[in-house]
């Protein structure tokens, strides 16, 4: 079972697709949750997920806006998608009937 922050990171990386790397994932998490994500939490979680086979990372291109430094690119694996689906479904199931549960149709309308 994934942890909350692991799920957030995976979801942000999946949403970014080919453009998923450290800084972009941090900004995506901050934008969607309104919470600042520390670099320490981000990179240690990426490592943990990579060890579990949920993420694949490699060194990406260096850009001028990064002072000529390389990016750590992130790719979400099929195994990770399966685990994220499991986590999402578990949250939906456990939340059903709770006072704060929102009907997804209502949420997205």
């Amino acid at each position: 079972m994934l942890g909350e922050f692991e799920y957030l990171l995976i979801t942000a990386a999946a949403a970014l697709g080919e453009e998923a790397y450290g800084a972009a994932i941090r900004q995506e998490i901050a934008r969607t949750t309104g919470r600042r994500c520390s670099i320490g939490a981000l990179y240690t979680t990426i490592d943990r997920l990579e060890t579990k086979g949920f993420l694949k990372t490699w060194t990406g291109p260096a850009t001028a806006e990064r002072g000529g430094r390389a990016k750590r690119m992130v790719h979400v694996t099929a195994k990770c998608v399966h685990a994220a689906k499991g986590f999402y479904n578990a949250v939906l199931r456990v939340s059903r009937g709770s006072s704060w549960a929102v009907d997804p149709k209502e949420y997205f309308s």
Binding site: Y21, R26, S38, I39, T59, A62, R66, R69, A70
Partner: protein, 245 residues
Amino acid sequence: MRGLVWTVVATVSNLLESHERDAVCGDLVECGEGAWRSLVDVLGLVIRRQSQLWKSWRPWVAGFGLVVPSSFLLMGLSVSVSGTYLHLTRHLQPSGLTDASLIQLILSFALLLGWSWTGGFVVGSISRRTLWLSSILYCFPCLRCLREFHIPSMSKFCLLLFLAPTILGIERGLRIGRIGLNAALVFAIAITILALPLWSNPAGGNWRHPSPWILSCVLSWPAWYLVAVAGNRTRDALIAQQENS
């Protein structure tokens, strides 16, 4: 990334692996983070990484199983070698150079080199990212013994005779990580043969003056550890080769 705090950030980030340092510093520049916030972020990551490293047995063995005991023992051996050298040069005529003590000096010096180098190599190879602590642990016994060393006829630096081969060993350990099985076996057998006379020496026996065989075990295990690592690697390579063929 300019200014004093940024310099501290860059310095602290040196404790990260090079590829991670690049990614982290690039992220900070790209996001336009402030210097203090960046410092907190990088420090946080460094602390997390260091705490992960200490979950492994390697830095503990390197620090407290090798550096602390071996530095005391090697300082003792350094003084012994220096004393033998001074005795030879001061009290013997050139004709006395064939004396058995000259052979003893050469053998002791070779043993000191071997023990120091293999110990340094193992420290460098198993505690790469915690080498800062191993270095501090080397310093404490050295400073303490330098302070308490009072032999008028000898320089205090006689204590540190082992330091140069140890540093060379650490440097090689950091650079290549492991040596081949044949080289490791040659080292280990040579060191064991050189140390054999110690086993028959009845001197010592308490914690201040440990028995020579304890000294020999504590200082010789890195050489046999290198043999075990090289042997495992060779066996794995053979298995992989058999599976491929």
